[in-house]
């Protein structure tokens, strides 16, 4: 089985659709990628597509898949030269599209076969397809994952199984069904044989009992009895036959006599009817003669009939004519009446016209009265309206006059207001000025005080400065003198008598400074110190003087500034106008504000008033308009009234005083009745005329018919007379009497003929009967009958005895035979049954000692083959260190064959169980075992081609060298097989160029084929 193409949709970690083309990969390929990226999923999907369940047990449906996503696996593969495709969708529980809740969708699977270039469906029901796939691949799911797909961790389970666990798997892999079937069949048959033996024994016993103690003697006696019964029967039979024969003869005689009597009777009957027969034949001959003339006579008869019919019709027609004539006067009077009616109708029409005119006038009158009514009403309303309008108008005018009386001079008011506003403004200004002037004087005071302070400090500073200057001068003097003293001492110390003094040049030095040398030195030192002190004091004094000076200057500057400012401000103060005090100006302001308020109020009042006046004016205008309108309306209404009155008077003139309606109605009715009568009469007249016409026509027709009939009659009678004469009748009456109907004629003929036959046959019969009776006497039937009966009874009895005897004899001999048969059968069964039992025991491992069943033996030998092949592989992969063998010594006990594995280590020379190998060694052993299994399966009859092997992980447990060896060995032994390896081992990536790289991303994994 070779994979060609795999499509995954939302399977495992693969989101969306992922496609994998295996044909792009080489014969050895690697599936690599990080842990959990989805490598195993690829093979899971293959197993799922084929068998409906993933090997690893993981769910096929991707966790990333939403309910609406399609989840399926589609596998295109080749098996035995035929290409197939299977698509499988897992069962899912998804949310309903409409409504709440979930719906369960079952697993769906479909299978196609490739023919030419298209896919032919080959099944759609899950069970069908699953069975078909198992047939196509040749392996069940369990076998598949032992031999073709070695799943992660699974393969070594097979390696480590014990016999009990391995047996069922091997039973499925190897064809031991027949072995098991034969063993079972043998057991069944053995049981059957035993049962049959027991059954046979029972039957033998029963049969023996039935036969009794001396079966042979009974048989002989039965035979004898049979013989005598047979003889008796024969005799009785002979007697019966004789009786029968005589009976028959008697019967014959009796019959002959009876026949004679019958024939005589018949003859007599015939003779009785002879005369009747004769007259009948005479009639017959006459009738035959009459036939000839019948046609003509009948024709004459018909003509006569026709003539009488024509006469009848003539008379009928003339009766009708007479009837019609009798009605003529009636018709004339009807015409007269019709004329009267017509005149009457015309007069009525004229009257109707007059009445119609009167009606119209009456209607007009009614209309005019109505209009007059309404016009008067309108007039009334118009008057009322006018009155009302004038009232309201007057009211408004009065109001307006009142308003206009109180007009005031708005101009003066507004002037007053302005003045008040100005006054208020001035007051505010005055307040402001007063406040400011207060502030100003406060400021001046402050300045003055500060100036005083500053001036004082200036004075202080100056004083201090003077002091400091003095101190400075004194300090300087002190330093100077000290320095001089020191210098002098120094010079003095250097003075030598006779040498000129550096200062004055005198050679004598009477009193050198600091004469006491030691003291001078000491003083110098001390003075040195003192000098320093003095110098320090000097510098201090200098500093003090400087700072004093600064202070004085600063104070002076400040004071000067203040003075300047003060003078400025005072100048400003002088320029200010004299103002009132704050309190005064505030009082002024309050007064001015009050005035302003009053002016405002007056102004407002005035404004209100003028607004009112304007409104009143407007109202007046409107009312006046209304009034005018009412007046106009009034006049119009009056006009209308007069018009309506005149119209009404006019209408009354032509109306005639009363309502003409009823008259019109009466006239109409009368007219209707008249015209109805007219119509009736007209139709009566028309009917009479029609009748008359018909009668005339009929009369003419009837006479014509009569004439024709007479002519025909003459001819017919002539023909008839001729025919009569020809046929020999004297008259027609004679002929009529002789005529016979067709059937009567035929019947008479037949009767005559029959009679003739009867006569002849009767004669013959009589003759024959007389002949037969000749020489035979009349038998006595009764006696013969009774004799026969007796003979029969005797015979029956004899027969019964014979039957009984025969039965008894038969039973006995059959019983003996059966017994013999049973005994023989039993004997044969013994031998075969024993053999069967022995065979059953052998095949099912029930023997003592080696308890091995046939099936397990076969299994064991197959397994030995597998292990042989596996061992070869293992030697290759382990570089001849390890051998695989079936473990011996477990065959004892309970019919189990040893199916345990052990591995032989050439380094130690000892075998150890497969479970004791290391992980990597187990992996090698498992692959070897899988290869061994597949070798053997392929070679068995009808073995399926195992073209592929997929190994999921395991290489990680091998060290480099072993992995090299394993890969090399796999490559060597694979032959034509495709080997797919799933591994994360990095070294394999560089070894195997054909790869499927699986990359894991946050949202699903992706595949990439590298080759």
């Amino acid at each position: 089985m070779r994979l060609r193409n795999l499509v995954l949709s939302n399977v495992g970690p693969y989101v969306g659709r992922v496609e994998l083309d295996f044909t792009e990969l080489g014969d050895v390929f690697l599936v690599c990628g990080k842990t959990g990226s989805g490598k195993t999923t690829i093979f899971d999907a293959v197993a799922y597509a084929l068998y409906g369940s993933a090997v690893s047990g993981r769910d096929i449906v991707s966790h990333f898949a939403a309910d609406g996503d399609e989840v399926f696996v589609d596998l295109d593969f080749e098996a035995g030269r035929q290409r197939w495709r299977v698509q499988r969708k897992p069962a899912r529980t998804v949310a309903k599209k409409r409504g709440a809740g979930t719906t369960d969708r079952p697993m769906e699977v479909a299978l196609w076969r490739r023919e030419a270039s298209s896919w032919i469906p080959a099944g759609g029901k899950a069970t069908e397809v699953d069975a078909a796939l198992e047939r196509i691949i040749g392996l069940s799911s369990k076998e598949f994952i032992k031999i073709v797909l070695l799943p992660q961790g699974e393969f070594q389970r097979f390696l480590e199984m014990n016999t009990g666990e391995r047996t069922p798997i091997l039973e499925k892999l190897f064809p031991v069904d027949l072995h098991a079937a034969v063993s079972d069949l043998a057991r069944e048959k053995a049981k059957e044989a035993e049962a049959r033996a027991r059954d046979l024994d029972d039957r033998i016993r029963v049969s023996q009992e039935a036969l009794g103690a001396e079966p042979e003697a009974a048989l002989v006696a039965a035979g004898r009895e049979l013989d005598s019964a047979r003889a008796a029967e024969k005799a009785a039979g002979g007697a019966l036959d004789a009786a029968k024969a005589s009976g028959q003869a008697a019967a014959i005689g009796a019959r002959a006599w009876a026949e004679l009597e019958a024939a005589r009777g018949e003859r007599e009957a015939l003779e009785a009817g002879a005369s009747q027969a004769a007259s009948l034949s005479a009639r017959l001959s006459r009738a035959e003669a009459a036939v000839g003339a019948s046609a003509a006579l009948e024709a004459a008869g018909r003509a006569r009939q026709e003539r009488s019919a024509a006469e009848l019709s003539v008379s009928a027609a003339s009766a009708a004519m007479a009837d019609s004539d009798s009605k003529a006067p009636g018709a004339a009077s009807t015409r007269e009446r019709l004329g009267e009616l017509a005149t009457g109708l015309a007069a009525m029409d004229r009257e109707a016209g007059l009445l119609a005119a009167r009606s119209m006038a009456w209607a007009r009158l009614l209309g005019a009265s109505d209009r007059l009514e309404s016009a008067r009403t309108r007039l009334g309303t118009a008057q009322a309206a006018r009155d009302a309008a004038s009232l309201s108008l007057a009211k408004e005018v009065v109001a307006l006059e009142a308003l206009e009386a109180g007009v005031a001079d708005s101009k003066a008011l507004s002037a007053e207001r302005d003045a008040a506003a100005a006054g208020a403004e001035a007051g505010r200004e005055a307040v402001r000025l007063s406040l400011e002037s207060e502030r100003f004087s406060a400021e001046l005071e402050g300045l003055r005080s500060r100036l005083a302070v500053e001036t004082a400090s200036r004075g202080d500073a100056a004083a201090r400065l003077a002091e400091a200057t003095v101190a400075l001068a004194s300090a300087e003097a002190a330093v100077e003198s000290r320095r001089d003293a020191i210098a002098a001492e120094r010079l003095a110390s250097r003075l030598a008598d006779g040498q000129p003094c550096p200062v004055c040049g005198s050679p004598d030095h009477p009193a050198p400074a600091g004469a006491e040398a030691g003291v001078a030195m000491r003083a110098g030192q001390h003075d040195g110190g003192k000098l320093e002190d003095t110098e320090r004091a000097l510098s201090g004094a200098r500093n003090a003087a400087r700072s004093m000076e600064n202070d004085a200057v600063a104070a002076g500057t400040r004071a000067a500034q203040l003075e300047k400012t003060l003078s400025q401000r005072e100048a400003e103060a002088a320029s200010l106008l004299p103002v009132l005090s704050v309190a005064e100006s505030l009082a002024n302001l309050r007064a001015a504000s009050g005035r302003l308020e009053a002016a405002d109020r007056a102004l407002a009042l005035e404004a209100d008033r003028s607004v009112e006046a304007a409104r009143a004016r407007a109202a007046i205008g409107r009312l006046r308009g209304g009034f005018d309108a009412a007046v106009a309306e009034l006049s119009a209404a009056a006009a209308m009234v007069s018009a309506a009155e005149s119209a009404a008077a006019e209408a009354a003139s032509g109306a005639g005083g009363s309502d003409p309606g009823p008259l019109v109605d009466a006239l109409g009715m009368k007219r209707a009745s008249v015209s109805a009568e007219q119509a009736r009469l007209e139709s009566e007249l028309a009917a009479w005329e029609r009748e008359r016409g018909n009668a005339v026509a009929r009369a003419a027709e009837a006479s014509a018919r009569r004439q024709r009939a007479l002519d025909a009659l003459v001819l017919a009678e002539a023909d008839a007379a001729m025919a009569l004469a020809e046929s020999g009748f004297d008259s027609e009456e004679a002929w009529a009497a002789s005529v016979m109907g067709g059937s009567e004629l035929a019947a008479s003929k037949a009767e005559v003929m029959a009679r003739a036959n009867a006569e002849s046959s009767s004669a013959a019969r009589l003759a024959a009967a007389e002949r037969a009776v000749a020489g035979v006497s009349r038998p006595d039937l009764a006696a013969i009958e009774s004799a026969l009966g007796l003979a029969e009874a005797a015979y029956v009895a004899a027969r019964e005895r014979l039957d009984a005897a025969a039965r008894a004899e038969r039973d006995t001999s059959a019983g003996l035979e059966a017994l013999a048969g049973l005994v023989a059968e039993r004997a044969a069964l013994r031998e075969r049954g024993d053999r069967l039992v022995a065979m059953a025991r052998l095949l099912n491992g029930d023997t003592e000692g080696r308890r091995l069943s046939f099936k397990n033996y076969a299994l064991g030998s197959y397994f030995a083959m597998v292990v042989d092949r596996a061992s070869v592989r293992l030697r290759e992969m382990s570089d001849a260190r390890y051998d695989m063998r079936v473990a011996e010594g477990k065959a004892g006990g309970r019919g189990r064959v040893g199916l345990d594995l052990e591995v032989l280590d050439s380094f130690t020379g000892v075998a150890r169980p497969a479970s004791s190998l290391s992980g990597g060694e187990k992996f090698l052993a498992s692959i070897s075992l899988a290869l061994g299994l597949s070798d053997v399966i392929v070679s068995r009859a009808g073995g399926v081609a195992l073209d592929s092997i997929f190994i999921d992980e395991g290489f990680g447990s091998l060290d480099d060298e072993t992995m090299d060896r394993a890969i090399a060995a796999l490559d060597r032994v694979r032959g034509e097989r495709v080997i797919g390896i799933v591994s994360h081992v990095a070294e394999l990536r560089s070894r195997i160029p054909s790869r499927i790289e699986v990359e894991k991303a946050r949202r699903g994994s992706t595949l990439r084929v590298v080759s």
Binding site: V182, L852, D971
Partner: protein, 410 residues
């Protein structure tokens, strides 16, 4: 000029779980001595420098010190390396451009096979055309590949292979490219020849299994690609420095395999291993095999357990790597322990007693794999349990039962 041609160092390899680095170091030291003695202009390593794509640190260090030692002897010696099928070309070729400036040329990209490495020495010029081991997909399809595949001829309308897969195809493409470049160079040579009077020699360096070569047990088979390359293209070159086959041998008149520097499997223990010292000149080459005596030999003994354990004639091998094949009739218990005491470097042990059962098993299996009829199986079973052949009547009964059972079976 003289060059040294080595190949298949397989540094870092271990066999039977024994690390051979020490032995490899010893062999490389021997090479270094020869370098000192013969002063080749170039040391050439034709692939399989390391045994794995990610070699051990010690192996890498060893190679580094080997190269450094060569340069120490004479900095002017060019070192030329190509990766083989065991190496990771990318890893081997790291810093190739920098190293090239120091006179160490590592070719790891097949696309650059048409730019040769030129080595000049005392007036001689040699062009080395370096072809790393070709992995499928090595070349981007440049020239259209004619659709001569059987599939194409059968009219299945499959597209022609866009990627070259087999060794033969890729090698042909490489030869085409190198051939073009080489003829260009030779044309240029001709103009130069008129000036200086000598033309350059052309050497092809490649790692492949050339048709006509003999394989050994320790070579790794190329997985999934057709192996052999055609050696007829070799005639275009003056010398073809090959690598991959571990047995020193020649292919055609120009191609030489130096073989691996050590014997790497016990079946190779008979031949010598070493490298080639080649005197190159335009138009001819003379290659001499320089054997390397290994630190420890690979030796295989056959004999009974007692003999192997005690025969004094085998004392010379006591320090070597040993495979002992014991031909005792019965399996020997724990031979390894005892043998290891005499031969501390014994790596592998086979017991012929096991192989014999194996042989029997195989032939028995072969016999059985023809479908044994169930009747025969029954007979065998009968013999197994009752120890006699079945009687005629029993066999007949069995046959009858079989037939009935198989009829009943669906």
């Amino acid at each position: 000029m003289r060059i040294f041609h080595l190949a298949d160092l397989h540094l870092g390899k271990s066999i039977h779980e024994r690390d051979l680095l020490e032995d490899q170091r010893h062999a490389l030291d021997a090479v270094l001595c020869a370098v000192g003695a013969e002063s080749p202009a170039c040391v050439l390593i034709a692939g399989d420098v390391f045994d794995r794509s990610v070699p051990t640190a010690e192996a890498v260090t060893l190679f580094g010190s080997f190269a450094a030692a060569i340069k120490a002897i004479d900095p002017g010696i060019a070192i030329v390396v190509i990766p083989g099928n065991h190496d990771s070309a990318a890893r081997l070729g790291f810093m190739a451009t920098v190293l090239a400036q120091a006179g160490v040329h590592i070719a790891s990209d097949p696309e650059s096979c048409d730019s040769p490495v030129v080595v000049e020495n005392g007036g001689d010029r040699t062009r080395f055309w370096l072809l790393p081991f070709l992995t499928p997909g090595a070349f981007h399809r440049e020239s259209p590949v004619p659709d001569l595949s059987i599939a194409g001829q059968a009219g299945l309308f499959d597209e022609p292979e866009p990627i070259l897969r087999s060794q033969a195809d890729m090698f042909a493409e490489a030869m085409r490219r190198i051939g073009e470049a080489m003829s260009g160079e030779r044309t240029r040579d001709q103009t130069r020849e008129l000036d200086s009077g000598t033309r350059a020699a052309d050497v092809l360096v490649c790692h492949a299994f050339a048709r006509g070569g003999l394989a050994s047990e320790s070579e790794r088979v190329f997985l999934g690609t057709a192996e052999l390359v055609d050696g007829t293209a070799f005639d275009a070159f003056d010398y073809v420095a090959l690598g991959h086959l571990h047995r020193p041998q020649a292919v055609g008149s120009r191609g030489r395999y130096p073989g691996s520097i050590l014997a790497y499997s016990f079946s190779e223990s008979d031949g010598e291993r070493g490298f080639l010292s080649v005197e190159l000149s335009p138009g001819s080459s003379l290659a001499e095999f320089r054997p390397i005596s290994p630190l420890r030999r690979m030796v295989r003994f056959h004999g009974s357990y007692d003999r192997v354990l005690s025969d004094p004639a085998l004392s010379v091998y006591e320090g070597d790597y040993v495979e002992a094949v014991l031909d005792d009739a019965d399996a020997v218990l724990n031979p390894m322990e005892a043998l290891r005491r005499r031969f501390p470097n014994i790596l592998s042990l086979r017991q012929a007693a096991f192989e014999r059962t194996e042989v029997r098993g195989v032939s028995g299996a072969a016999g059985r794999s023809e479908a044994l009829s169930i009747a025969d199986e029954f007979a065998a079973f009968h013999r197994e349990v009752r120890e006699v052949d079945p009687e005629q009547a029993d066999a007949a009964l069995f046959a009858e039962l079989c037939e009935e059972a198989s009829r009943e079976a669906p």
